[in-house]
Symmetry: C2
Subunit: 124 residues, 2 copies
């Protein structure tokens, strides 16, 4: 029997970084998130809302994808890792069906517990 | 007449980085923080508490300094900048008068408005 090793925060951040730079956000959710993870948007943010649990988080991602008419560009920085947290600067340039073309930049902060991301929080 | 230029978030982050690497935290507060800035610690964090306004934030810094018996080391990473925010990984290794020697690492997140830091929030 081979015991499954719990990934460290640095290992999670590294895997996140590899997948984010491929734009593989679905795989990040499937592979790195805990089932009861929460996703926190800023209070009063237009459009996106906080979500609790992977079912709601995946629905949120799907709603976002469907709101986009055309994606012009995006980026995700290398992560900063400290303790059980890692932070990433990310952004996108997209034309939305309802709002036209917008650029946005944000700090995304991830909390890791028992080898899974249990919280993502966006600051913009 | 020369108009005073409002510093951008990237400029604030760069100046913060220079001063942090010198360990000049008092100068960071004096030069870069807004008078009504807030400092947020994690809910339930032992020891340190959140503070509102520069008077309370400076008192908090003073209390922290006085709690330290000996500082063995510390670091502050280069900042990640996105929109009105920047994030830094930082840590220290210190012997505290009450608690003995401890190492800690955290993500510190700064929000900038009108060329000043209006919020610092620590994640650990």
């Amino acid at each position: 029997m081979i015991a499954e090793q719990t990934m460290t925060t640095a290992e999670i951040a590294q895997r996140f970084n590899t997948l984010a730079k491929e734009g593989n956000w679905n795989q990040i959710q499937d592979e790195l998130f805990a089932e009861n993870a929460v996703s926190i948007e800023p209070p009063g943010a237009p459009g996106l809302q906080s979500a609790e649990g992977m079912k709601a988080i995946k629905q949120k991602a799907k709603d976002f994808e469907q709101s986009v008419e055309e994606m012009h560009g995006g980026y995700s920085s290398d992560p900063l890792v400290a303790g059980n947290y890692f932070a990433v600067a990310m952004g996108l340039d997209a034309t939305f069906k309802q709002m036209g073309r917008m650029k946005m930049d944000e700090i995304a902060l991830y909390e890791v517990k028992d080898g899974k991301i249990v919280k993502e929080q966006f600051f913009y």
